[in-house]
Subunit: 108 residues, 2 copies
């Protein structure tokens, strides 16, 4: 489980972490701000942030005693890029494109 994609997907496989990302989509936030909606301890949040940071999904900066987190979407791009290989299996437009390509390939 050392590869990048696995780390990214594992980070996304937790509802608390996804909620944190959703919050960060609205702008940067400190740890206590991020912790506020949840019924879990600060250390737990701190660890979730560590996981997100390791996955590259957030970056962090500090000013005085506050540590601010910021959304970094690049890993999400990677994840969707991987899933795009399967798009033809669910996307109607892709299915049609597929069929079209096969058709024009049959009559040269």
């Amino acid at each position: 489980m050392t590869d990048r994609l696995s780390v990214i997907f594992a980070a996304l496989a937790d509802p608390t972490r996804r909620a944190i990302l959703a919050r960060l989509a609205e702008g940067e936030a400190t740890v206590t701000e991020l912790a506020e909606p949840f019924d879990i301890s600060l250390p737990a949040i701190s660890r979730h942030l560590k996981v997100l940071e390791t996955a590259g999904l957030i970056s962090r900066s500090r000013s005085a005693q506050w540590r601010s987190s910021r959304l970094e979407a690049e890993p999400l791009r990677e994840a969707t890029a991987w899933m795009d290989r399967y798009r033809r299996f669910w996307d109607e437009n892709f299915t049609r494109l597929d069929a079209h390509l096969k058709r024009i390939q049959e009559k040269p």
Copy 2:
């Protein structure tokens, strides 16, 4: 970790399982066929398939003593749908669209 998206992402967070999906993109396959490229036991593969099935990423059928697995891409559609909420954070076209929408909103 009981929600659907978490189960899907967790299923994708393992390289063996992603490789199995890649293989299934080329067509149905039996358990031994799927196990062949890997250096792990058949029971281990069997469990990976269970995880994928629980996530809805594969469906299974049987004929005689063979159990055939088939790719089901619907969960991938769900996962990308979730990530699409963040597309504007990495997609240049989305960034431009965002800017455009803001512009036309400013001058009514």
